[in-house]
């Protein structure tokens, strides 16, 4: 493990039995897991290169229990790491050896559905797909659809502000969540938003979304549900170069079309997926584009016509339009299985997640190819093309000495490149422990201090998920210090009247 975690609190480790006993008084029975064997499944999340057994695992099932656990840990100075399904790809749910792992899996009920208001109230341990399952009988769905949607939870989605292949048109988690119940580290319970829009006051819901479990524990969520489009059809287009495919994406948007989804895969990714899923992807092209258009049939037909013309102008080599729902889902099945498919052609892979201004795509791909040669590691590319979110998958073998380190160095170079061209380190997977030490490539110390002080407003003692997101842990007292000089204007000539 190449990142340094906060120093272990020996006093907490020495008091382990006492802490476990206290937690058992709050969450009885099987809700507290303290044996090494039973804690093993919790030692890592989707970023499996990092592993750490927690001090103890607690699985509360009520808000009151969460509140009591947090209050106890707050008073006893014990760190807490929240966990949903553990599919985070950035180590957000990586346990701490001296910290409680707070598993939210028992919060698995859909509390209410209101079709008139188009909202569902769910517990945070409900999986993303289960929300759609709960409302689809009435023709509704929950829009954000991460590829991990069978497993990942709404609580995890909020913490990571997860996206999906349809977020170009329908938004990320943050645009589809209306409210939540949040337990602060002190045990205080606050409600943010609700079934109405734009809660008054500061947009704390907007801050909690994407906060990677550092600000509070989410115990209930109100999400917006949407009526399914009348029809949806997908186009599968093959190009002779990734540049041509990228150009096509830009021209579709320039024509005023925002497709329901627009995804790109390069040759290596396409080959891996085709072997695995047999989606009928063309194998003699350098890049494929999946463009989904949705809405009334007349609109789909109209837009498919337009997009076909644009694709031809961009030199498309192959072009298929789905003619049935099965075929549309098959086109997507390949894309949604891209990560596991790449996992089959390599012992290990490392998934990156930078976002770039779309026009920089050819340059970034060219530099990535050069880096691939330099590090001697293959790289398959999968992109949310519409919004410039890249998922380079670096292929390596952890059993070969030095390969993991090389893969990590390669990945870090790709992310620095994303920032260099005006993009960002992570589009949807989160900073976690993985990208933590790269934060200074994007943010100054002052930028980071403003974010960390916000954490202090929620968690003064810094006990909730420390060691994630921020490269340097400072106490809130240090962060709060201010140096005020004088009362003299540094630029005395500012116009003043």
């Amino acid at each position: 493990m190449s990142v340094t975690m906060p120093p272990r609190d020996e006093a907490v480790l020495a008091r382990r039995d006492q802490i476990v006993a206290a937690l058992r008084r709050i969450v009885p029975g099987e809700g507290v897991i303290a044996t090494e064997r039973e804690m093993r499944p919790y030692e890592s999340d989707g970023l499996t290169a990092y592993r750490q057994l927690p001090l103890v695992v607690v699985l509360p099932s009520t808000t009151e229990q969460v509140s009591q656990v947090l209050r106890y840990c707050h008073d006893a100075g014990v760190k807490v790491v929240p966990r949903g399904a553990g599919t985070s790809l950035s180590g957000g749910a990586l346990p701490l050896g001296d910290g409680v792992l707070l598993g939210m899996a028992k919060f698995n009920r859909v509390r209410s559905i209101d079709f008139a208001d188009r909202v569902a109230v769910v517990e945070p341990g409900v999986t993303n797909l289960a929300v759609t399952k709960a409302v689809e009988h009435a023709g509704f769905y929950y829009a954000p659809d991460p590829s991990s949607q069978i497993a990942c939870t709404i609580g995890g989605n909020i913490a990571e502000n997860s996206g999906g292949v349809h977020c170009l048109k329908y938004g990320l988690t943050t645009n589809n969540v209306l409210g939540c119940e949040l337990v602060l580290m002190t045990g205080e319970v606050v409600r943010l938003g609700g079934a109405h829009l734009d809660a008054g006051g500061y947009d704390l819901l907007g801050i909690v979304t994407g906060s990677e479990g550092l600000l509070g524990v989410v115990t209930e969520v109100t999400v917006r549900i949407l009526q399914k489009p009348e029809t949806a059809r997908a186009m599968l287009v093959g190009f002779g170069s990734t540049e041509a495919a990228g150009d096509c994406v830009g021209r579709i948007i320039a024509a005023g079309i925002i497709p329901g989804g627009m995804e790109m895969m390069d040759r290596l990714a396409t080959e891996a997926v085709e072997q695995f899923v047999h989606a009928g992807y063309p194998l003699d092209v350098e890049a494929i584009l999946i463009v989904e258009l949705d809405g009334p049939r007349v609109e789909c037909d109209h837009l498919i016509e337009q997009v076909s013309g644009i694709a031809r102008d961009c030199g498309a080599l192959t072009l298929r339009v789905s003619t049935s729902e099965e075929e549309r889902l098959l086109f997507w099945a390949g894309r949604k299985a891209a990560f596991p498919a790449v996992g089959r052609i390599s012992p290990d892979y490392y998934c990156m997640d930078g976002t770039i201004p779309r026009a920089k795509l050819p340059y970034v791909l060219q530099r990535t190819r050069a880096l691939s040669a330099q590090y001697g590691l293959r790289c398959a590319n999968v992109f949310h093309a519409g919004d410039g979110n890249l998922h380079p998958l670096i292929l390596y073998d952890a059993n070969q000495p030095g390969e993991l380190e090389r893969a990590e160095a390669f990945g870090a170079d790709i992310l620095r490149l994303c920032v260099e061209v005006g993009g960002v380190l992570t589009g949807e997977h989160g900073v976690g422990v993985e990208k933590r030490d790269l934060m200074p490539t994007m943010f100054s110390d002052i930028d980071l201090a403003h974010q960390q002080r916000l954490k202090c407003a929620f968690d003064q003692k810094g006990l909730l998920n420390p060691g994630k997101v921020f490269p340097v842990l400072s106490t809130c007292a240090e962060l709060g210090r201010m140096h005020v000089s004088g009362g003299r204007l540094a630029f005395p000539d500012i116009p003043r009247f």
């Binding site: 009526q227 976002t355 994007m442 500012i494």
Partner: protein
């Protein structure tokens, strides 16, 4: 007389805040000051006038992104994106007429800092959903940035959301990056006539629950519809309006489908693109409650209430049963604009009582300064949330130099 500082660039904004910190002064941030009548009256020592920080610095339509200095006139930005076939999808309202100011004023910073949006909010989101990044000077006198220029970004906390709707109480934004989107090619509206509010809310729920991508759902009771000043409306009858936007063949198809869906709810009519545009502009700017320029309409208070759409009719009825209210429903019943006769508390007891029963929150958008000084303009918060809000304020502005008291006392 209050002192005004008018920095010419971002560096001078930082210097000005540092001066205020050192001198123990408080500042009110102003873009054009066109919306100063909104919020608790400022109790600041000096004004930080950002109007010199103007100009679009980047606009790439194919990347759907625009950056501008914070005090760039919103009208300039809207004209620029319109010429490129794009729009600000959150349809920012022009509060000017409601507040008795000329229309068309205001800055990008003001629009973001107030997080107001228009009828399309229920489909496309508010300003908060379209701010990608910013640079600002916090109440600590430090320049910092957050977010970026791309839509998919979870690198660090989403501070652009926090600054949206912060009313200048956390930081003075100097540069802002927002998302632009293609303009809908055309639009049309379907009307259901003569419905009572509860029936209208049911009709709007049916429309919103349909797959026809309704991008506006409003109900104007008869008197309010008449005051909307839209010639194409039938007149003398309540109007429930549903807007459809997009490419022409799709709009035509959905118009027919929606007319069929709503026929059982009442007698229907429809509006073509021009009339539809006029109607939604009037709804967006709450024209029926506009204050005549320089007139004394400001004495008649206007509230903006956000609630769950299905509670909209009950909430409005609770207010109307207690006082002589004029009401306009937007967001399928989830946004209620309420105009009341003048009274010492601007009707706060009635409005807040109804909100307490039905859920949501109420903002006093228009009232004389004397009333806004004694009545909470923004919904009072429960204790734990109020304390958290105060800690958030202090984390950006520990000495309370920026806009103090604009939201609540001390915040």
């Amino acid at each position: 007389m209050t002192d005004t500082l008018a920095p010419r660039d971002a560096g001078e904004v930082e210097a000005a805040v540092r001066w205020a910190l050192g001198a123990g002064k408080t500042l009110e941030i102003v873009g054009h000051g066109s919306k100063r009548a909104f919020g608790r009256p400022a109790q600041t020592d000096a004004t930080l006038d950002l109007s010199a920080l103007s100009g679009v610095t980047l606009y790439e339509p194919t990347e759907l992104v625009l950056s501008a200095r914070a005090a760039t006139p919103i009208a300039e930005i809207e004209a620029l994106v319109e010429a490129a076939g794009q729009a600000l999808a959150f349809e920012p309202m022009d509060l000017g007429p409601l507040l008795g100011q000329p229309p068309g004023a205001g800055t990008l910073g003001g629009v973001v800092a107030t997080n107001l949006s228009g009828p399309r909010r229920l489909k496309a989101g508010a300003a908060r959903d379209h701010v990608l990044g910013f640079t600002a000077v916090s109440g600590r006198g430090e320049t910092f940035k957050a977010g970026g220029r791309v839509v998919k970004n979870v690198t660090g906390y989403d501070l652009p959301k926090l600054l949206a709707g912060s009313f200048g109480t956390l930081a003075a934004m100097t540069d802002i990056t927002i998302k632009t989107l293609p303009r809908p090619q055309t639009e049309a509206s379907v009307l259901v006539l003569g419905l009572a509010p509860a029936q209208a809310v049911a009709a709007m729920a049916a429309a919103m629950g349909s797959p026809f991508e309704v991008s506006g759902a409003a109900h104007l009771p008869a008197a309010v519809a008449t005051a909307a000043g839209v010639a194409a409306l039938p007149g003398g009858v309540a109007v429930t309006a549903l807007r459809l936007e997009g490419v022409a063949p799709s709009v035509a198809h959905r118009r027919e489908s929606l007319l069929a869906l709503l026929a059982p709810h009442g007698s229907c009519a429809d509006l073509d693109a021009g009339a539809s545009r006029a109607l939604w502009r009037s709804i967006r700017d709450v024209t029926p409650f506009a204050a005549s320029e320089g007139g004394d309409a400001a004495a008649s208070p206007v509230w903006r209430v956000s609630t769950a759409p299905s509670r909209g009719a009950a909430l409005a009825a609770a207010i109307a049963s207690a006082c002589d209210a004029r009401i306009l429903f937007d967001w399928a019943g989830g946004l209620i604009w309420v105009a009341l006769p003048p009274s010492p508390d601007a009707g706060a007891a009635v409005v807040r009582g109804a909100v307490a029963r039905c859920g949501g929150h109420a903002t006093l958008v228009r009232a004389p300064a004397a009333v806004r000084a004694v009545v909470d303009v923004f919904e009072p918060q429960p204790a734990a949330l109020a304390a958290l809000t105060r800690r958030v304020k202090e984390s950006f502005d520990p000495q309370g130099v920026l806009g103090s008291g604009r939201l609540w006392a001390g915040v």
